[in-house]
């Protein structure tokens, strides 16, 4: 993710097959050069994430797409995320 239409350039974060607007082929973009914007410490365990604390990062790529990423360690805004 994301998936971008080769023809009309519309973008999705979910794999949907073909572009629903122009029927064009979609290619997957691999996020690169991610930079941390915010880091949130989580102290509430859940079945999927039982060990706390953990951290949820808001990161962005060079195109401005935003993602959430789980981290076991705290990160500072501006740090790079691989």
């Amino acid at each position: 993710m994301p998936y971008k239409c080769n023809k009309c350039k519309k973008q999705w974060m979910h794999k949907i097959g073909k572009c629903i607007f122009c029927d064009g082929e979609l290619h997957e973009i691999i996020p690169e050069n991610l930079e941390v914007m915010h880091c949130i410490e989580v102290n509430i365990p859940s079945k999927q994430h039982p060990e706390v604390p953990y951290y949820v990062l808001q990161v962005k790529d060079k195109s401005g797409n935003i993602y959430f990423r789980k981290s076991k360690t705290q990160k500072k805004p501006g740090e790079k995320w691989a």
């Binding site: 915010h38 949130i40 410490e41 989580v42 509430i44 859940s46 079945k47 999927q48 935003i66 959430f68």
Partner: protein, 374 residues
């Protein structure tokens, strides 16, 4: 279209299972409407998590079994906006039916907290959110970070929101926190659970039910007019909206005000979906009560208190009234109807119009409803 009857249970940790919770609300609403079960043509049920929490789906058939009826009954789900969305859907049926019942119900207590947290989390995106450890308090904490980056410190204003809602909740005998004193010191001193989000910035885990009788025609002087009800949807993940403003809220509000032929400042009271205090703050801006970054000023000036210019969450909001997910949107309508009827007792405000704002996710669905006393 009119609300002709309302009924609800207390919200909180109830020693009751789903059948009893549903029956109490339904019975009270019918009594309030002075109608019998045979006068009801269809029922719409709002519920989010009974399938996961109790292992119970097919609530429409369960209710038919309990009430010993065979009329059309539907269950709808739109996470925390289930109540508003169910209410919205039900109104279309009044072209066919004369009187309908809208019932919202949820049982959230009695589960291990990590299981409940997981179940609630299923309403966020599986890949974008759940796999990344995103649970809804993370979203609220993230919005606080974004807001403070743009407008500066907001935590003191959030504490005032929590305090106001607890003060109002202590005037509402049905509220989850009724009878529990919550001071500003307690709010500010409460432990942080996620990011900067404190325990007392978050609505509680509650059980409860609310039922409304909705009729095509006005039945008596206590019937309250449904002036408008509109819905908008939005992105399922907060990662798809980088701002602190929620497009679905702005769109639903714009549609509702347009349908009603009214302006936001025509509203005498507003019920805002304060799952977290930060949501009440940013919603004040999204509804157009003030410009971005200015909600704190209204809060500090007391404008949203019971005796303020725009009372918000007179029943205590989700923060103090409680948040049994499927019932929440209908509880907001219950409060507005009670206020417009002049039956709110010690928390009564001077009101002829009211607006309910009910959201799901952050913000994946939003329903805005407007009510008016004829």
């Amino acid at each position: 279209m009119y609300i002709c009857g309302v009924g609800r249970t207390k919200f909180g940790k109830l020693e009751l299972e789903l059948p009893e919770i549903m029956t109490e609300a339904v019975t009270k609403a019918l009594i309030d409407a002075k109608l019998r079960l045979k006068d009801i043509d269809a029922i719409f049920i709002s519920n989010n998590l009974a399938g996961l929490n109790q292992g119970q789906l097919h609530l429409n058939s369960l209710l038919a079994t309990i009430l010993k009826i065979d009329i059309p009954i539907f269950r709808l789900e739109s996470t925390c906006a289930s109540g508003g969305a169910t209410f919205y859907n039900s109104l279309f049926s009044l072209s066919k039916f004369k009187n309908i019942l809208v019932l919202g119900v949820e049982k959230m207590t009695g589960l291990a907290s990590d299981l409940l947290s997981t179940n609630i989390g299923t309403t966020s995106d599986l890949n974008l959110d759940q796999e990344q450890g995103f649970i809804f308090p993370v979203g609220a904490a993230m919005i606080i970070e974004r807001y403070e980056k743009r407008f500066g410190n907001v935590m003191d204003d959030l504490a005032l929101i929590s305090l106001k809602n607890h003060e109002n909740g202590n005037l509402n005998e049905y509220a989850h926190f009724y009878g529990k004193e919550v001071t500003l010191e307690k709010i500010k001193g409460s432990r942080t659970i996620v990011g900067k989000l404190r325990l007392y910035d978050c609505s509680p885990v509650s059980d409860g039910a609310v039922a409304l009788v909705v009729s095509k025609q006005k039945r008596d002087r206590r019937s309250i007019k449904i002036q408008a009800c509109e819905m908008a949807t939005g992105p399922i993940s907060l990662s798809l909206n980088p701002r602190t403003s929620m497009p679905a809220v702005k769109t639903a509000c714009k549609r509702a005000l347009s349908s009603a032929g009214m302006k936001i400042l025509d509203m005498d009271l507003i019920e805002i979906h304060d799952g977290y205090t930060i949501i009440e703050l940013i919603t004040m801006e999204d509804l157009g009560l003030c410009k971005p970054g200015q909600a704190g000023k209204l809060i500090r000036e007391g404008k949203t208190k019971l005796n303020g210019k725009i009372p918000i969450n007179t029943d205590g909001g989700l923060k103090a009234n409680g948040h049994p997910i499927g019932a929440t949107g209908l509880a907001q309508i219950y409060e507005i109807v009670t206020q417009l009827r002049g039956e709110a007792g010690k928390r009564q405000v001077n009101a002829k119009t009211g607006l309910a704002h009910n959201i799901g996710g952050m913000v994946g669905s939003c329903v805005v409803s407007i009510f008016k006393r004829d």
